[in-house]
Symmetry: C2
Subunit: 205 residues, 2 copies
Amino acid sequence: MTAHEAAGPTLLPANAMAGRDDPVDRILAAAYELFSRRGIRGVGVNELISSSGVSKATFYRHFPGKNDLVLAFLELRDQVWTADLIVAEARRRGNTAEEQLLAVFDVFGDWFKRTDFEACTFINVLLEMGPGHPLGQASIDYLSKIRGHIQALAEEAGLDRPEEFARSWHILMKGSIISATEGDTLASRRARQMARWLIEHHRSL
Amino acid sequence: MTAHEAAGPTLLPANAMAGRDDPVDRILAAAYELFSRRGIRGVGVNELISSSGVSKATFYRHFPGKNDLVLAFLELRDQVWTADLIVAEARRRGNTAEEQLLAVFDVFGDWFKRTDFEACTFINVLLEMGPGHPLGQASIDYLSKIRGHIQALAEEAGLDRPEEFARSWHILMKGSIISATEGDTLASRRARQMARWLIEHHRSL
DNA sequence: ACAGGGACAGACAAGTCTGTCTCCATATCT
DNA sequence: AGATATGGAGACAGACTTGTCTGTCCCTGT
């Protein structure tokens, strides 16, 4: 076991991590790029290491297996895509909580138009591996985390039954993503319209 | 074997276990069973032939390659699942065209509760292979065929802008399927509620 | 009766995958 | 300086994958 944490604080000089690129970062960057675009089974370890300029031994020193890298990738995707790209951007675009909710589909609209649009990683992995697989389960957890963001916004907006609201809302999000993958770049507008009706019915009670 | 043909309306075609003589039928039956449950890349040719009791030479005599079998499987799935299990059943359950439209989500509700629920094959293959792959394109075609059924019902119901209606409706169908894959068996009810609002807004010209 | 086609069985080729291993260079710590 | 840890490059193993090929059997048409 690589036991180097037993030493005191900052026994490693600062230039050790400042000078070169961390191999873990390079691996994760390559994993994000390749897994997002071509799925899990569509990318092999050999391509992963050659694409990140890391040796195979180094790869397996930092990750016990491919599955562990996928788990790290999903975590990274949750931070980069879910939190920073979707939720934070939607909160930035709207003033009220309701506006921020609807802005999710405006962000989707821009996202759908991107040439490198690659659908939702968590849905992809869930369907690719199945709900029984550990990676499928992890994807389900991250999807429910997305639903948690929606539920939080619904509570801020004072909407009725926020958990049920978030589940219905999530149906619109996922459905529009699949439709966009089919080529319907206007799916975000259709989902946004239905989302507005959903808000109205959770407002009056 | 997986004993699930004993319970009620099975997802398998009636001749799945029957055509004991024709090798093509056996291959297609095994393909339907395995591809539906574990995806395309999750099932190899060797398992396919051993599961159907057909020799490898026989397999390749009838299908030039695995892709051709997948195309035949998608066609079979369109007939068995889309046409017979969903559309025909929904039309049977409702009296008016509007009732038949809403009945789609009632059929979904029963389908979601099945233990062998395996999500929508066309979505699975589309996300697994990508929109650029021939199999992904074929899946897109079959998905648009499903949308055609919805559009036809919308026209029978005299709804406004039936093509746009069908696209929005399809978002609800696909989104609820993903949610059901995550474990939300009540996704059909949520989608049905939103579907009702969609009908109302396409009724008033 | 006999020839031929279809099907079964399985070896085999060529390539893929994940994961382990060795060899060597380099950089830091004692 | 010597010891230790980390990195790159790549050979290697074993288990896959798709697809081809060689046999042997059986069933059917003439």
